[in-house]
Structure formats: structure tokens, C-alpha cells
Symmetry: D2
Subunit: 331 residues, 4 copies
């Protein structure tokens, strides 16, 4: 059986996923997309790096867009409760023989980089520079009216191992999942902040970033974003949706930024703070899982992801089977 | 009985109400309100006059805002089917002894001014300069996302007489109404274009303009306008609503522009093109009539209106009665 | 040039399309779909025929569902202004040598059947039995909350000829269209009631009914219908959408009833009562035409239609060309 | 200064507020209101007690409606992480000299009753009987489509003392607040689950329950509830709203159940899991605080509350001042 118990005994406390740091090829193109179309707030630009946040957010950044040669991902950011959590993490992972190092990040007090066993470049901080929320400044509600960064979804070459690491060594809690026929984890949604997920893991060629999710208040905002993208020349950046997932109950849309980094504007999920909340297992063959309704996901959605800078990508370790290898229309 | 038959035999064909021409005291303040907050498209400014239209509209203007000393209304605009309708109107009303004259209006081919027996300054044109619709330019959807000018609602000192003129001599059709206890018309909703109204008439000190109505596609747009007005310093310009009218089934809001001209952003009405559609009569005492739900209308809503330039205002001719004189909370 | 002028001189006045009469194989299955899922009001059942209407409607029926052997369409219904229009129509079409006959239809006063030159079974009536509107009975708002029947869209084997008949002999007005490279009409949207269309015509194997359109007040209602269909076992009845058409600006969805009759719940179009409104021509190669955004239409959407009872279907007369024969992904 | 630090050292862990237990006079009337109009799921009826839950909820009840003589409140329910938290609570509050006792509650494993120093009847449980979520059963989305119980708002005769107890002895975290001119707490919003509040406290005659809050996914659901209440005879149960609060950013509505217990259907708040999130203080004179926009709250909204069974109500201890005593239109 692939399910394991949540670890309540860790010496540190991760609050939530907080941001993603992308390399983009043309900062002006990215600004047009993220600020003018999507509606993110531009906190500041430092050199050739742009720091963005959602309307609700009081932290300095949820997207760091750094101009560079190759579109890739520098790091996946998480926020911990206190500065001392970082020190406890440093000790904890060093003891495990996992590579950790302090890195310098603009507008973060201290930042600890941790490379997960499957190669995900995780970064932890306790404090970012505080900036004003724009939540009550309705003149700034544009495009999607993005309220906050919500989750990170990664391909991993060994989902079972990545899932176990997340539950046992990072303290994440499982909310929904699918297993292979042999009982290995095929995809897992795990959280810290009390909704469906902060970190989702999907088996596949990896490690790679599949997408980051952005919370907006209403379906109407997502439809307006579609209208806007279509009329402003971004129709080819719409990859999949709108639709409703069975998993998470989200009303979703998947779009690609100018560098092919995938974003999921979505709304509607649910509260998961109950400790007796039982994870919901889905059958890989249940068509409602992936798409309660909506057009089938295109091939690109299953295959394309953003690579992590300096991290090798390998094929999945999990043995495939007829269901899974033909799973393009199932998953 | 106050109801009369619709006149199908008129020699001319009014298509719909089309625009209002206001005097405003500060054009920059008006531009901020109508363009930046409400989201109207600025067609052009000519001297100290601003011409605006809704996102959907292909005619040059639905609001004409002319800077002047005193906030008032120059004219209520209507569009007829063909140029020859104007000539037929000229003859028809001249024969009736009604004052008509050709006036010069920017971006209209020919404009015929007709003063109704109760003093409403009506203006008719067949052709305005055609301009592009912005309906498919979703980047221009801001504020209310106002799609089109919908209706005009006036106080008249003799609603029965004004109603009869509208039905018999302008060809309007009655959709909903309320009668006094003596059977006189207290308020009438009449249309040409096939929805609830182009011209509504309410008994009261007049003639004065009560409000003009603006169609938007969704309730969410109206709520966004409220959020925007409240956060941008226009909370005192919100007079009444949001709420739902029994009459017309509209989801409504009433706001005041910087000069006190009242606007009604609304959505949801219904189709009235059927010739066997029977007008819906409301009892003055039916509380669902005015407000199916929503806070009671403030005193100002019953009392305040915009005056027409050069037109004397007089008290209502209709004999009041206990129901009507205490009707502030009923109507 | 394929465009012709609207005929203002016809002796009769068609108000709008009003209903469709379908043969369905299992009345209970149809009732579940139209009443329980879609939310139509059941006016009454007479024998094995079910009469339905939208929430707003005061006419007896907008869908007539008659149980029978083979799913097909009996007639496309239109409402005229007055009883005498029917007599004038009878004379007018008899003079043209077109087949007309009086038919008996339940809850209609008199009904005139007219077979169009391309074989569309048109039926005209002036008066249906009046029934109460449910527009203000919000407890009856379920499923899609369908307000009213809006339009009929047909395949015709000669779109140019069908279009000319509609404009010249029925008095419809063109709002949007696409032409073939040779300048023939490929698809035409025509109306009587003042919005985008009552009758749309598309070139193709025909005559057949492509779909009927149903107006609802908001995007949220369409999304709720999708959620409901997916959770109640009707996910395979979702054929295409949601999406936004360039043509008509509609937010659309296409679904199939249990017999494969196609329905289009939609919202958002625009006012077309202006006589100087110029029809909007689309290039067959403009991808925004069919789908401003949304998944590509499936093959079935281009190929499947409902046949008319007793009417032979033939291939299109219009000479195909490379663009058109490969037009599945264009149109 | 009235602000104190959050207590991270408590031996127990409250997850969230979970339910309210009301006495109602007529169970059938209550069922009509909560189930038919509001759309709550009826988990079961046991004798003359009805157990309800929201569409998303997997716990047995969020409202317990027990038929009795006098409308009052039996208890305010909270869920803790584990059974052992209850034992630790028992010891902790016993040590403080606070009255605690084990009570029997249907469908809860063990329930600990704790009477707060100001007299709030708090009840804590770790486990309720698990029942299926209806979140994916869209045919059950009716009325408000209530997803989950969200918060409890109480009048307390000494808000400063109640606030201190909540922060120091229950572990709640402050999100927003208003102070009197002397620096005492006038109103406090505190949470455990990571959004704006689980427990709000307002100075006034108390202890009494002001309202319980219910989360729904969209503004449209709240508007539909209003339409439904108005057309189904519940218009007098609408007390205040809709509107937008400055505090919490909620789009709100206040309604009264048939016994006068106040409910707040709302949507839109924000994430508060960050430990460096600084509470937002409001000036009592800031009109945006209470009502960003919307009609002024009626007198009843400031004065009326539900009493707790067997708990004496007393006037506020907090010295009033001109601002506060005239605060009906300010707060």
C-alpha cells in the first residue's frame, strides 16, 4: 500500500508555497503578459528581474521573472513560520545527507535552498519584505484579477518517492491521489495551508515543473481573461480549458506564458484543515478525475513542462502498464 | 380606464431611444466619472463637449456631455428608421400644432427637435456618424463594461397625458404600469426596441429627467462598479441599490454623476416583441413592484431629477390621495 | 456580390422564431433532460406530446416533444404579428407557387405551414394560448435557468438561395455572414426580433436542423449546467464548448438531447434594430470567426444535424474549394 | 495598548469553528428555511432535532436545530485536532478555575463544554460522524449553494477581556480589529483555520450571538438567494445587504431565520496563514470599515442578537464615549 501517515513530529513548520522563480527570455514580453494581461501587481524591477505579486498579497513577490538565455525554473519557493525553522531545517536535512545551502535572494531575509531527493529545487524563507495589499484597491483589478499564488505542480520521475519525502520530511498532508495498478503513487495532491494543495506531484519525465496555480475569486474573472487573451493576440497561449476538475473541484484554465511556463488560473476548492480528513483516492480509469467536463487535454499538457536550471531530467522509474502508457485520455 | 391601444398607423418609425445630452459643470470631472470609472468609450471631444458611447455601440454617441454653467438636460435623443421618417414627423407634429424645429447636432445627419405637450425636449435623428464597435475589444472592458444605452425615465406632471402622447403619437408600446386609485396612469414603461422600455414616465414634479439606463451583461459587472466607486472616492455617488425590481425584473443600481444626473446601470430584462403581449399592471401598494428586494429607496430618489434647459417645472396635475402622497416607501 | 437588400415591403410581419417541434423516442428520457436538467417549464403533456417553455415565456410552448419512432424535426415555428398576416402570407406564397397549407397545432389559433424552396418546414402562427411567465418565480430557476427560445440554425444545400429567400420573401435582416471565395453565401445570420439572429443558415448537406439556441441570463448559469450534466450522467451529451464565438459575440455551449437534437445554451449578444446597421462579413479563414477562444469544434459538430420529417436531404449545391472542403477546422 | 501576542505554546490545537446549536420553535418552518430556501443538506433528523451540513462538508453537522420553547443558542461548536487535545483542554481550563464538563452530543465522539469567562458556551470535539461530501453532486446545489460553515460572531460585554481569552487561552490569531479612543478592543476578528475569522467579538450587551457566517463560492449565489427569498415570502427575513465590508473584504448579506437567528451568507475573504501577517486596525470613524458600499445597517443589526441558554446578559463594561454611543451609523 502506497499511503503513509502524515508526520506531525517535524521540528520545523512550512506555512505554504509562496512563489516561483522563472528565467524568461524577454522581460518586456513577460511584463506585458503577466501585468497587462494577467493583472499581476508589479512590486518592483531590479536590474533585469521583475518581482510580481497578487492583488491580495502582502509579501514582496509570488513570481520572480529574471531575464536570461533559456526559459527554465530557478526555484520553487515556500514560506516557513519563523526564522528558527530555517536553522532547524538546515540541521534536519544535513543530518539526512541532503544537500542544503544558504542562498541570497532579493527581498527575503534568509533563504535556505534544499534539493529534494528527486531533484526539486526547493527554497525556504521566513520573511519577505512586506508590501501593501491591493485587495481593497479595486481600480487595480484587471485581467484575471489574480488574488494569490496558490500551488505548485511538478512532474517527478518517481512519484512514490517524492510523495513520501513530502509527507515524512516536509510535513505535507495528502488530500487526493491516484495509484497505479500495482499500488504505487501515480499522482498526489498535498498541502500545508489548509486547502487542496500547495504541492502536487505527478509521475512522469522529471523533475520538471508542470504548472503553478493562481487563485481568483470567480469564474467570471477566468472567462474575462479568456476573452482578453483571445482579443489581444494570446489565443495560442490558451492550452486547455476552461473546465472543471473532479480532483480538487477546481474550475480551471491552463495557459502558457511567452516562454512556455504553464499557469493555472482557477477558482473553487475546499477546506482541508480537519486532521480526520481522509484523502480521496481516484481510479486512474475514472474519467471524472481529470476532467469532470471540458475538452480533452491536448498532448502538450501531458508532455510539456519547464525544466529546473542545472537539474537533469530522467524518464519515470515507475513501471508503466497499458492503462498508464495509454493514459493521455485518462489522466 | 386609463389604458389605450397602441397606434400601429403612424407614418414614421422610431427605432429606439439613443442618447442624452447633458450640461455638466466640469468636463474633466465628468470624463473621470464616465470614462475612467464607468468605462464608456470616448468617441471624441469637440471643444468643451465630450461624445461617449457604450462598448457595443456603432453610433457616434449615447452621452453628449457639454460643459456649461448649470447642470441640466438639453435633449433626449431617439433614432428613427430612415431620413424620410423625420420629414413625416415634421409634417405630423406641425399638423397637430406641436412645436418642431430642425436643429444642428454634431455627428448627426439631420435632427428634428419636438417639444412634447408636457414639455419633454425630444430629438430625433436617423443617422449618426458610424464608428467601430468595441464589443470584441475586451481590453476596453473596464468599470461597468457598459454595453449600450438602454432607456430614459422622466418625471412628468401629467403621466396620463404623457403616456397617451407616447402611445398614440410616438408609437410606443406599454409593457408595465401602475394606476392611481382613480384609474389614472401613475407610472408607465413603454418601448419601441423590443425590451421593457425605451421611455418610462412617472408622475411627479416635472417635466424632469429621473435617470437614463445602461445595459451591462452581468450582475458581476455591477458589483465591480460598486467596489470601484467605493474604493475610488465615489461612494457618495451611490444613491440606491443594488437590488431587484419587480417591474422589469431588472437587477439595478442607481448612481449620480458629478453633476447629480442619475444613471441606472442594470442587467436582465425580457423580450417584448410579441404583439399579443399584455401589459403588466402593478398595484401601487404591492411592495414587490418597486423593490423585489433591496434597501428602501432614499428620499432623494423620489424627489431629485435633472431639469430640462429652458423648460418650466410644475407640480403634478394628478390629484394625490393618501396612498400616493405617502408613497415614498411604496413606489 | 452575394449581398442583397432587405425587403421592407412585404405584406406580412414575422415577429420572431418561436419554437421547434421534435420527434423524440422516449418521452420520459426527454422530460428528464429538458425539465430536470435543463430547467424548462412543463406547460402540459397531451397524450405522448410534451409542451415546454422558458422561464420568461408567456406563450404555451417553445419546444414540442412528440414521442415517435425516429428522432426528427416536424417543424420550425415562427410567430407573426396578427392573424391577418397569416392570410396575407397564404396569398403571397401561393402566388409564388410555394406550397402552403393550414395545419392543426395544439394551443395555436391558426397555423400556416410553408415549405421553403430549399425544403425547410416553416410554420407560422399569430397566437398561442397565453400562460403565466415564471420569470419572477425564482424557485423555478433550475439547471440552465433557460429564459427564452432564441434562434434556429439550419444546414441548407444552397445557402445563397436560402439566404435570398429569407431576406426577400420573409423579411429577415442580415447581421453577420461569411462568403465563399467565389462570393456566394457560405453562412448567414438573419433576424426579425432585433438581436443577432432568429434564423441562421449554413451551407452543407441539407436541409437539416443544426441547432436551436436558448437564452440564459449569465455565464454562471451555463457553467452550472455543465457541472450538473457532468455529475448527473450527461457528460457525453456535451458536444462543444464552453467558448466565445467571434460571430455574435455569444458565450456558447453545444449539447445534444437524448435523441441527438442539438441545443445551444448561450448568453451575450447585441442589439440590431438600427436600420443603418451594416452586416458584418467574416473571412472564412479568420479563426476568430467560429471560435474566439475554446476547444476546436469536433467533427460531429460540422456533420451531424437533425433531419426534417419527410424532407429529402441532398449534398450542397455550392461548389466546394480547397478552403471550404478543408473547412472543418475553420468554420 | 490593547494588542497582545498570539500564544503559540498552548497544549491543545483548535482547528476551526464547526457548528452552532440553536433552539428553534417550529422545526418544519426551520427545515423550509434552511433546507428548501438556503440549500443546506439534511444529514438526519433525530427526534425533534435536525442536523444539517454544507455541500462541501464531511462532518455530520454544522447546524443543529432543536425544537423547543424559546429561540436561543445552546452552544458554539469548535473542532480540535485530536481526542487528546480534549483531555489537555480539560486539564488546562480546570487549572485556571474555568468551568468545564463532558457533555453528550449526538454524532460526536466526546464533547467538552467550556464556559468562557464572559459566558460564551463553547463546545469542543475532535471527531464527528463522517458523512459524504456533496460537493461534486451538483444536482444538490440549491438556494445559496452553501459550501461550509465559516465563522461565529458574538456580542460580548467586555470585548477586551474576551479577545485576550481567545488569543491567550484558545490560541486564536487576530486578523482585523477596531479600538475605542481609550485603546480598548471594540471589535476583534480572530481565526484558527487560516482565513479572516473563526470567532469575531464585538463589544455590546452580551454575551449573545450576533451571527454565524456561511461560505458560498460566488456573488451570483448570494443574489440568487435574495431573488428566491423575495419571491418565496421571505423578504422580511432580509435584514441587511448585499454589500461589501471593508473589514474582511467580504461580499455579504445578513438574513434572519424564522426564529430571528442571524446568518451571514458571504463570499471573498483572504489567506491569513502567514505568521508575520500584521493585524489590520481600523479607525471607528472610518466609514469604509463597516460598509465599503451598501445601504446603512438598520438599527436591528446593531441591537438584536440570539441569547445563550441559561447565560445572563449584561450591559457592556467598556466605557462608552460620544463616538461609540453614537456609533450606529459608524460601525
Amino acid at each position: 500500500m502506497a499511503l503513509i501517515n502524515h508526520n506531525h513530529q517535524l521540528p520545523f513548520n512550512i506555512l505554504r508555497c509562496s512563489h516561483t522563480h522563472y528565467i524568461v527570455k524577454d522581460l518586456e514580453e513577460s511584463r506585458k503578459f503577466y501585468v497587462d494581461i494577467m493583472g499581476f501587481i508589479e512590486t518592483e524591477q531590479v536590474g533585469r528581474t521583475l518581482y510580481l505579486r497578487g492583488l491580495e498579497e502582502k509579501n514582496h513577490h509570488c513570481y520572480v521573472l529574471e531575464e536570461g538565455e533559456t526559459p527554465e525554473v530557478i526555484a520553487l519557493g515556500f514560506k516557513v513560520a519563523f526564522e528558527e525553522d530555517l536553522d532547524k531545517m538546515h540541521a534536519y536535512f544535513s543530518d539526512m545527507g541532503i544537500q542544503v545551502e544558504w542562498v541570497e535572494r532579493y527581498a527575503e531575509n534568509r533563504t535556505l535552498s534544499v534539493s529534494s531527493p528527486q531533484g526539486l529545487p526547493l527554497e525556504f524563507h521566513a520573511v519577505q519584505t512586506r508590501v501593501p495589499t491591493m485587495m481593497r484597491e479595486f481600480a487595480k483589478y484587471k485581467g484575471l484579477a489574480p488574488l494569490r499564488f496558490d500551488h505548485i505542480n511538478c512532474f517527478t520521475p518517481n512519484c512514490q518517492a517524492s510523495y513520501e519525502f513530502a509527507i515524512q520530511h516536509l510535513g505535507f498532508r495528502l488530500t487526493e491521489y491516484t495509484l497505479t495498478e500495482k499500488g504505487d503513487m501515480w499522482a498526489a495532491w498535498t498541502h500545508r495551508k489548509g486547502n487542496v494543495h500547495d504541492l502536487a506531484l505527478t509521475n512522469g519525465k522529471g523533475p520538471r515543473l508542470h504548472h503553478t496555480g493562481i487563485w481568483t475569486a470567480s469564474i467570471n474573472n477566468i472567462i474575462h481573461l479568456l476573452d482578453l487573451m483571445a482579443s489581444e493576440g494570446y489565443v495560442d497561449n490558451i492550452e486547455r480549458g476552461p473546465g472543471r476538475h473532479g480532483i480538487s473541484n477546481a474550475f480551471f484554465l491552463y495557459i502558457l506564458d511567452p516562454d512556455g511556463h504553464r499557469l493555472e488560473p482557477f477558482t473553487s476548492d475546499y477546506l482541508t484543515v480537519d486532521t480526520d480528513w481522509e484523502p480521496l483516492g481516484w481510479d486512474l480509469r475514472d474519467p471524472k478525475r481529470q476532467t469532470l467536463w471540458g475538452a480533452p487535454a491536448p498532448k502538450s499538457w501531458f508532455e510539456h513542462g519547464s525544466v529546473f536550471k542545472g537539474v537533469d531530467v530522467r524518464e519515470s522509474d515507475i513501471e508503466s502498464n497499458p492503462i498508464i502508457s495509454g493514459a493521455e485520455d485518462l489522466i
